[in-house]
């Protein structure tokens, strides 16, 4: 059965410093993996997705993630945090014929 674990429930960074949000997954097949962002009182917005093409995936707003099959990880990174990046981030795994499985989310706080 597929599952996804976000290793940190809360990450705090200073503006201008790197961001790392960690995600491990479990899947019996070649999964698709997504990162969604949710700003306060807003719906979820797709940041990026991995669909078995390039293992390094670039998304919107300077975010990127690397699919590492050997480590079953799909960590989200950004070189320099901005105040507007403060939000909830969800790692999501999907297998053929199944529903999306969401992680519990990581809250990113950015201080000036």
């Amino acid at each position: 059965a597929q599952s996804v674990t976000q290793l940190d429930s809360h990450v705090s960074v200073s503006e201008g410093t790197p961001v790392l949000l960690r995600c491990n997954y479990s899947s019996s097949y070649s999964p698709s993996l997504f990162w969604y962002v949710q700003h306060p009182n807003k719906g979820l917005q797709l940041l990026l997705k991995y669909t078995s093409a390039a293992t390094l995936v670039k998304g919107i707003n300077g975010f990127e993630a690397e699919f590492k099959k050997s480590e079953t990880s799909f960590h989200l990174t950004k070189p320099s945090a901005h105040m507007s990046d403060a939000a909830e981030y969800f790692c999501v795994v999907s297998e053929p014929g199944t529903a999306l499985i969401f992680g519990k989310g990581t809250t990113l706080s950015v201080s000036s």
């Binding site: 996804v4 009182n41 979820l44 797709l46 997705k49 297998e95 529903a99 999306l100 969401f102 519990k104």
Partner: protein, 114 residues
């Protein structure tokens, strides 16, 4: 394109009351979904639809009903509201249903049952 829209944004219900959460998409997507999001948790699938007239249960369907009479609309019905249904409800849509499909989400409906 408005994308996925949901109404109302917020509602307070008394135990036992009923209500319908509205969801509309203007992207001509075949697939639509209802999720609930509880504090500190990821989203859980309630119901989904693969097209007009076709719906199916997700992971947590108890206490809810859906219908899909048109491509655009996918309302979620709560018949007898219970405190356990206090949550944020998100509607989503996608063009296809494959594992690689991107789902597009509405802004959510916050429901409080007292």
């Amino acid at each position: 394109n408005a994308g996925v829209t949901q109404t109302p944004k917020f509602r307070i219900l008394k135990i036992g009351q009923s209500m319908t959460l509205q969801c509309t998409q203007d992207m001509n997507h075949n697939y639509m979904y209802w999720y609930r999001q509880d504090p500190g948790m990821g989203l859980k699938l309630i119901y989904y639809s693969v097209g007009a007239g076709i719906t199916d249960k997700g992971e947590v369907p108890n206490g809810y009903n859906v219908s899909r009479s048109t491509t655009e609309d996918f309302p979620l019905r709560l018949e007898l509201a219970a405190p356990s249904q206090t949550s944020v409800y998100f509607c989503a849509s996608s063009y296809g249903h494959g594992s690689q499909e991107t789902q597009y989400f509405g802004p959510g409906t916050r429901l409080l049952v007292l």
